[in-house]
Amino acid sequence: MSKKNQAQLDRLADAARQGRISRRDFMHYSVAAGLTATTATGLWTTKAAAQPKSGGNFRWGLHDGNTSDTHDPGTYVTRQNIFLAHTHRSYLTMIMGDGSLGPDLADSWEANDDATEWTFDLNQEAAFHSGKPVTADDVIASLNHHRGDDTTSAAKALLTDVSDIAKDGDHTIVVTLSRGNADLPWLMTDYHFAICPANDDGTIDWQSGDGSGPYKIDSGEWGVQFTLSRHDGWHREGAYFDTVEILTLNDPNARQTALVTGDVHAVSLIELKTMGLLQRDPNLDIHNVPSAAAITMPMFCDQAPFDNVDVRNAMKLAMNRDEIIEKITFGAATKANDFHHSPAQPYYPEGIPQRDYDPDQARSLLQKAGAEGLTVNLSAADSVYAGAVDMAVLYAEQARAAGININVVREPNDGYYSDVWLTKPFCLVSWGARPTPDVMYTLAYKDDAAWNESHWQNERFNELLLQAKSELDESLRAEMYAEMATLARDDGGTIIPFFNNFVYANRANVGTPEELAASWENDGARAASRWWFTD
């Protein structure tokens, strides 16, 4: 090998070690530099993908935190809550970098034939920061915190099918369901289901902030800052940093300057407007990760004019998604196809034709429905998504070509989800990423769901939803989800313009795994235990 090629390979290996290029790029350039593929693979494993190093104080700026947040898992709502919970508490299972489901507190899990009974075996090593081992009692109390009549948990709806949770020895729990649910282990990654130490009366002690996660809280103040140090003897791999500081940086500019000046090592969100400029800074790595978070536009299917499926489809056809993605999200989004199932979720149905902008067809559908010159109000607020009102205005312009008049109503940011969502017949909504299509469809598309935001009733869809829920055969399930996607796309009442990507950044001296989990920003909110310093 020539000297020049050797120098180039060293640079590549260096870049790869620091996580600046992916394995694919590494292979590509190495082969171009004159290596065979086998040699390049070997080199990647020995040289480039070096073992993460331990040490350092990781300063991490989050974009969404409030002074009035608390440690109560039932009312977790901000990123500060959620990211801290993934750092100092544990869940039964976790979503891995490649999108698969991996173990956290539970080492393994299995279901009976109709998925009505799930058994989780807990890790024997796991312990709370106080030193107390994590036992079945803690897990049961933590899950029961979200069940029962007097719970105030926002996750109550996810566990309505659970009829009993019992222990079978100190390290095994058995969850019994009134209706089979093949996704229960996925459901356990929901950010509310953090495991806290149990009190003697079967409630949990969430107030102390104790947990069994990779880091323990040394001190902290909500809405400001938390200081954590490594929990020695954490039951999983990782936790390379010695200490972690989680800062609430709500102001976009403060977050950006803190990152640019090196005051923090990573931030959970960067402004899409400045993404292009930040990409030019060699000291920063920008990640643009397709997620299962979505913007939806539900239309009330039981109310004129949306009670006519042709009108609904005309509305869907009147949207130019490419232009919206380019102008509103600056390209940081994945085009959606009017069914709420993202490529970042399991069982994604390939091969369903993409619905594109077609004002002529929209016009003819309206004619068929006898609704030419349709005028509707669309409610939006910028708290839904940065640029949501602009997006509504842009859509209104696009729809004009199909002869549809959309009046954009700017609603107050404050109280949007109590006064507009589920109340106004046509509005803009932002949904966080849910782990599986079943969770998403059950929450917002099932006929009797409290949040069936489009009031959509489709017998076949609901039948399939229940069947798929308890189907343990993966390929059969995938087929059902494909049929459901088609039903939602062609009959449903929800326009889904795009799945918004997670766009976040870190300093170049922070090493990140090749694949980043897409459940939350910053590697599924687990940057503290999965990332490391390269210098």
Binding site: N66, T67, S68, T70, T75, V77, D149, D150, T151, T152, S153, A154, A155, K156, A157, S219, E221, W222, G223, V224, Q225, T227, E245, L247, T248, L249, N250, D251, N253, A254, T257, A258, V260, T261, D263, V264, P412, D414, G415, Y417, S418, D419, W421, A450
Partner: protein, 318 residues
């Protein structure tokens, strides 16, 4: 002196009445906001059942007037209640934040007040020179720009481009006083720029006003140097209006810094108030607003007492 004592007592009494009125206004203003605390806490994830349970737990089902009187009953005994969300005492939640705000206000005031008054005297002395013009233009420009903009400009030049000061003022336990001063320098400087113009201009105007008086002319005629004329003869008579403006600006430093706190991520009381309003956490909102109101009342009182004490004619009324 007893007159002053009487005045202070009378004003403090009126101040208490003002605080009571403020507390009523705040309570019903929070009531008027759309949505309530239960919905705000549960956010998008609220269902009717969980909202009802939470309302019950927080005691929101009592009529508003009963809840207000409950709070008032506690407040007159010095108990400002507990945060509806965290359940922690309001006193604990506010104390550290208020101390942080006071620290930043003091830091800014220690720089701004002497700076503005000395600058005011200097420009009065060099009236209509290039220096006077330049000082006026610069300070008026800085007061006319919104604080967050000034903050961004300072961050750009003193932090991002030069790296001299940290861009965010996150405080951590165990910081030395020097580190603390360095960490909070940019927000303090922003506040200095915002309040200087007002005080400087008032000093200048008050002194220039006096310079036309016969007694100043007399001082000049007897050959006194100009700086001495101003410092010994003009300034003592100019104190009253200057003190008033200084007091107003000090109050602003405590109550008006929300934007600066947000831009620099400084954990002060303004940020706490904004968060509490967003969540409708009434006891915290109430306590913050009462602190702000009390600040204004006390500083106005201090200004009046100050101007009486610096004026012999008011000190010894016939």
């Amino acid at each position: 002196m007893s007159d002053i004592f009487k005045l202070v007592m009378k004003r403090l009494g009126l101040g208490l009445v003002t605080l009571l009125v403020v507390s009523i206004l705040i309570f019903f203003a929070v009531e008027l906001l759309p949505g309530d605390i239960a919905q705000a806490v549960l956010g998008q994830g609220a269902t009717e059942e969980t909202v009802a349970t939470l309302r019950e737990r927080m005691g929101l089902n009592d009529p508003a007037i009963v809840r207000y009187l409950d709070w008032l009953g506690g407040a007159v005994r010095g108990d400002f209640g507990v945060s509806l969300i965290s359940g922690g005492s309001v006193g604990d939640a506010i104390t550290q934040r208020f101390l942080n705000t006071l620290f930043l206000a003091t830091y800014a005031a220690v720089i701004a007040v002497p700076f503005a008054i000395v600058l005011g005297v200097l420009v009065a002395l060099m009236r209509d020179t290039l220096f006077d013009r330049a000082a006026n233009i610069l300070t008026l420009t800085s007061i006319s720009s919104p604080e967050f903009f000034l903050g961004y400009v300072l961050i750009l030049y003193l932090s991002v481009k030069t790296g001299w000061f940290p861009a965010i003022s996150s405080l951590s336990a165990g910081m030395s006083f020097g580190e603390l001063l360095e960490r909070t320098f940019l927000p303090a400087l922003t506040l200095v720029l915002v309040v200087t113009a007002h005080m400087m201009r008032m000093t200048r105007a008050a002194i220039i006003n006096l310079l036309a008086s016969p007694y100043i002319e007399m001082a000049r005629l007897k050959g006194m140097p100009p700086w001495k004329v101003i410092v010994k003869h003009a300034l003592p008579n100019a104190w009253a209006p200057i003190i008033n403006v200084v007091a107003l600006n000090l109050a602003y430093l405590i109550t008006g810094v929300v934007l600066v706190e947000v831009v620099f991520v400084y954990p002060g009381i303004g940020q706490l108030l904004v968060d509490a309003v967003a969540k409708r956490d009434f006891p915290i909102v109430q306590a913050c607003c009462l602190i702000f109101a009390a600040t204004f009342i006390l500083l106005n009182l201090a200004a009046d007492v100050g101007s009486i004490l610096t004026n012999p004619r008011l000190r010894h009324p016939k």
